[in-house]
Symmetry: C2
Subunit: 202 residues, 2 copies
């Protein structure tokens, strides 16, 4: 059976997005133009030295996203929105989107299908586990979603990608999560990032 893993890019002060997110500025007040450029510089500016970690991000048999990570539509699905990633999203597997508003599954090119889960994080995980078979299940974010899974004790491995800047405010990883015992599995620095992988101990 696969593991439940979470990979997330955070600032040195633990934020995965700033305040005041909008469709045009999905990462809000992120210290830049709201595109998350500083947070993800390690992916886009120095991909070769981070190849292992980049490949890991999408190496799962099923994915779980919070609704805010899926897109800017709030409330009813009254507008056509199929994610930030174009026709062929990088998941190539079932993706479970947490929402309070029901919607039919949305198949995309390349094997990705977005499923909309209205009955909570445990249901989403059960569906993802069923779909993933022997492969891992990746909790993709944002931090609010990750925090819910951490608080419920449902994440086994946490892969932090820590970028060299601070946001000062926003959505913070670990906010409101009870204390965790972690085991540092690996840790390495690259030019624009520190990668730390923790095993979450029971």
């Amino acid at each position: 059976m696969g593991k439940v893993v979470c990979g997330i890019s955070i600032s040195a002060d633990g934020y995965s997005a700033g305040l005041n997110q909008t469709e045009e500025r999905p990462f809000g007040d992120d210290g830049g133009d709201g595109s998350g450029a500083q947070l993800h510089a390690w992916m886009f500016d120095t991909p070769e030295e981070n190849r292992v970690e980049l490949d890991q991000l999408t190496d799962a048999g099923a994915f779980i996203l919070g609704r805010n990570m899926f897109g800017p539509v709030r409330g009813e699905w009254d507008r056509n929105w199929n994610g930030w990633w174009g026709e062929n999203p990088p998941y190539h597997a079932p993706v479970y989107v947490l929402t309070h508003y029901a919607r039919e599954p949305q198949p995309m090119a390349g094997g990705t299908t977005f499923h909309f889960v209205t009955d909570g994080i445990e249901s989403a995980l059960a569906q993802a586990r069923e779909a993933a078979g022997d492969r891992d299940i990746a909790i993709m974010g944002g931090a609010n979603t990750v925090n819910q899974y951490l608080a419920a004790g449902l994440i086994e491995e946490l892969r932090l990608h820590i970028s060299p800047f601070t946001m000062g405010a926003g959505t913070r990883l670990f906010e409101g999560v009870p204390p965790l015992h972690l085991e540092q599995v690996s840790s390495r620095g690259a030019s624009l990032v520190t990668h730390v992988t923790y095993r979450v101990l029971p």
Copy 2:
């Protein structure tokens, strides 16, 4: 002229101490017995593999401490307290303690003298700089003191020692500090810690 540096041990969620600190439990609700054992396991359990970082901690010509890091006495100095470190503290240099209550300098064995500074962080830094000569000035903590210096733009190099656990609450590094641009100078993992050094950009 020396640099203004800060080395601080934090949990993976950025805390340098928990809630409810007391004399008997100086790190408060730190996930253990209040002694900071998890936070400092890298120092005490695996010193040999962290020798460089340990030596760096006390490699300065003058030190600055917040009053809470110096000790549990609050208000007037109505009781004899000369720090947590015994007769021969590990500083071997002048140490400037931030306080609102005046007190005569306290010489200790081994070259450490505690000076008590009542006129603010900039005054403490000016005095430390004068004393340090060409050597670095180390802002030792706790996080509240570090945050004041960070917010004032007075720290040039930040050395984080990140331990594998979360506290969930307490005194958090970067709390209330406006966004910072950082340059990752170095980053390496050891068994029980990730060491990341940032240069704070203007």
